[in-house]
């Protein structure tokens, strides 16, 4: 589904991604971990199409297409979804307000009929239950005055509405209390099928107890320096990153 080969990306002349290789197949869950500043969010942004980042080398193919050629909205319509680490506040635009436009543009792209107001509302209600989010939150200005947990839940709500093929969750668990974490994780699990895939960026094993990964990767200095199975996450939780950093820094030194 997704194949990243030797991906290099930089911002304002600073190289942040340094040759990333990663393959994700339908039905899989990949966890990406790594110390602060290692480039996890950058990778997520590049995949979503943020223009500030300049791809200097490498390729990304997604369902046979050159992902890097597509505009951000085209990627979304093709089924790529990013749950942002820090979702932006948009005064005057509510979730309900833009999501109908978004959903119908996605549907149009897929050759489907636009949803009328009633079907849209029905769908909203159903997905709201999934992430236990309140209607009133969705009618408010997007993320303005939302708590950390509300922002994250709103991201997953949007994911539920858009039914993506490839979801990238950037620290969706950070700052959530245990109940909210369970709700969010349950939501993600319920949306899982054999045809879609998930990349979860996280610092904590706690999330991976709920969303069990098939693979765990460690990103450090813009490179995947170690990959393994869910046991690697447990090891990282116990030992931290220092041993990996040492390994990497001595071999490159």
């Amino acid at each position: 589904m997704l194949k990243i080969t030797n991906l290099h990306a930089s911002i304002e002349g600073n190289e942040i991604l340094n040759g990333i290789n990663l393959e994700v197949k339908p039905g899989e869950v990949h966890a990406i971990m790594g110390p602060n500043g290692s480039g996890k969010s950058t990778l997520a942004s590049v995949l979503a199409g943020r223009e500030e980042y300049e791809v200097t080398d490498g390729e990304v193919t997604y369902n046979g297409k050159d992902l890097l050629e597509l505009a951000p909205e085209e990627r979304a319509r093709e089924g790529v979804f990013l749950a942002f680490q820090y979702p932006v506040e948009i005064p005057g635009v509510s979730t309900t307000n833009f999501l109908k436009t978004a959903l119908n543009q996605v549907r149009e792209h897929k050759g489907q009929e636009p949803l009328d107001a009633v079907s849209f509302l029905t769908m909203m209600k159903e997905k709201m239950k999934l992430v236990e989010i309140d209607q009133s939150l969705l009618s408010r200005s997007l993320n303005e005055g939302f708590s950390g947990g509300e922002k994250k839940r709103n991201e997953i709500f949007q994911m539920a509405m858009l039914e993506p093929t490839l979801s990238i969750l950037d620290e969706t668990d950070s700052g959530l209390d245990i109940d909210a974490l369970r709700i969010v994780a349950n939501g993600v699990n319920k949306l899982k099928t054999k045809d879609n895939a998930t990349i979860v960026v996280t610092h904590y094993q706690r999330l991976l107890d709920y969303i069990v990964p098939d693979y765990v990767h460690v990103l450090y200095k813009g490179k995947i320096v170690k990959s393994g199975t869910k046991e690697l996450a447990l090891e990282l939780e116990k030992k931290g990153y220092d041993w990996i950093k040492e390994e990497v820094d001595t071999t490159t030194a």
Partner: protein, 444 residues
């Protein structure tokens, strides 16, 4: 008459004034004519402002007017047919409709629907003869012709316009909509209408001023509206400017508020050549509440200068100001917001905010908040932002599948809505929503 006559343009107005005096004939014996004379003297002292005048720094009206108009002869009367007028009315707005053609009130084209005991509406000229006491008490008592050349000019040439008097304890349900049409079909037109609105004690009324030009030639309006909001009264005032590219406009709205009164002004500017709006409010009693909302969506070469002033004279009053602008193409916006809190005006709450979005490299905004506070126990704040469209917000919406163009429109519309949502007249709100949507190419 003063010796200080500046350039040809000031001379033209002087000659014009002499013609007016002749035309007035017997009416020049009225006390109002003494005011006219003082005003023309003041005008001659002041001269039209140039960019060297701090208050007109970014809006060189003298230059623009000199280049475009010839004020030697009085502007023609004008004639616009009923159909054209009806096309311009705000749809669905059930209102008293006052039509002015080239500044002159047309009885024939106007429709007053409010009962007579609620209000008096007449041409200002008629009021100068029939309502002498009110005219003497209120006319030119607020708009200071000693300090501003355009107010001086308007006062000197006061003839037509409207006189609207609402006695005490009247709730005027139907808005009073004044439509000012410039007939520029046969040639350039200019005029200087004058309004006096008096809202009695504990009364309530809504006023609208809408400006249009018919015909392809340039037009110039220099309007002054004095609004007296007596004790415990409530007045709403809307100004709608979606005029032709050839329309020059200077307008002063001079408001005086007595204790416990409420006043709200809403200024929407979408098009014109060069526009200067002065909104001056004297909050002259305890417990006053004043709101100033403004939205300017500019494109092409439109130049719009909004100068506002709220003068807190007495304690325990509140004012709130929100002006927002979106500038495209080579348009130019100017905002100057003066907030005065005098020493006696303790416990004043005054808030001001001006936000701007520039959509092109060639668009300009000059924003200047100006707070002068002499009282010590007050709550005042102001904020002013100027920027491009929020790239992060754009990306966020795109990442959900929304096209860039649509995302842009969503964000701009959301920006404008913060002002628009305060409009209380539903048909007017719908009308403005349509205009704004059209401007932003919002097609959903």
């Amino acid at each position: 008459m003063s010796e200080v006559i500046k350039d040809a343009i000031e001379q033209e107005f002087t000659t014009n004034f002499e013609a007016l005096e002749k035309r007035l004939n017997g009416a020049s014996a009225l006390p109002i004519h003494q005011v006219r004379k003082k005003a023309i003297n003041a005008f001659q002292e002041l001269g039209l402002p140039t960019a060297r005048n701090e208050e007109y720094k970014y809006t060189d009206l003298k230059k623009a007017l000199q280049k475009t108009f010839d004020f030697k002869a009085p502007s023609p009367q004008g004639k616009i047919n009923r159909e054209t007028i009806e096309e311009c009315l705000i749809p669905g707005l059930d209102a008293n409709i006052l039509i002015f053609i080239n500044g002159v009130f047309s009885n024939e084209l106007s429709t007053i629907i409010s009962p007579e005991d609620q209000l008096t509406i007449k041409d200002l000229e008629a009021a100068t003869m029939e309502d002498k006491e009110l005219i003497d008490n209120y006319f030119a008592q607020y708009a200071n012709y000693e300090h501003d050349a355009f107010i001086a000019l308007n006062t000197a040439f006061t003839e037509h316009g409207s006189f609207i008097h609402i006695p005490d304890n009247k709730l005027v349900e139907k808005p009073i909509a004044l439509y000012f049409f410039n007939d520029a079909q046969a040639g350039k037109s200019y005029n200087q209408p004058r309004n006096l609105f008096i809202v009695g004690k504990s009364s309530q009324a809504t006023f609208l001023e809408v400006f249009y030009t018919v015909g392809k030639h340039e037009s110039f309006t220099n309007i002054v509206s004095e609004i007296v909001v007596n004790e415990n009264a409530n007045a709403e005032y809307y100004k709608i400017q979606n005029n032709r590219d050839t329309a020059f406009h200077v307008g002063t709205t001079q408001v005086w508020q007595a204790r416990n009164s409420q006043f709200s002004a809403y200024t929407f500017t979408l098009n014109g050549a060069m526009i200067r709006n002065n909104l001056n409010i004297a909050s002259d009693g305890e417990g006053c509440e004043s709101h100033m909302y403004g939205l300017y969506l500019l494109h092409g070469k439109t130049h719009v200068d909004n100068h506002t002033e709220i003068d807190h004279i007495k304690p325990n009053s509140f004012s709130n100001e929100l002006y927002k602008g979106i500038m495209e193409d080579q348009s130019h916006g100017v905002f100057n917001g003066k907030v005065y809190v005098r020493q006696a005006a303790q416990k004043t709450n005054a808030f001001q905010s001006n936000k701007n979005i520039l959509l092109s490299d060639q668009a300009t905004i000059n924003s200047k908040p100006q707070l002068e506070i002499w009282a010590d126990d007050v709550k005042c704040s102001h904020g002013c932002t100027t920027g491009q469209l929020d790239e992060e917000a754009l990306f966020y919406l795109q990442s959900r599948g929304v096209s860039k163009e649509r995302a842009r429109v969503l964000l701009l519309y959301a920006f404008a809505v913060e002002v628009l949502e305060n409009v209380k007249l539903e048909p007017l709100k719908a009308y403005l929503e349509d205009l704004i949507s059209e401007r932003l190419h919002k097609d959903f």
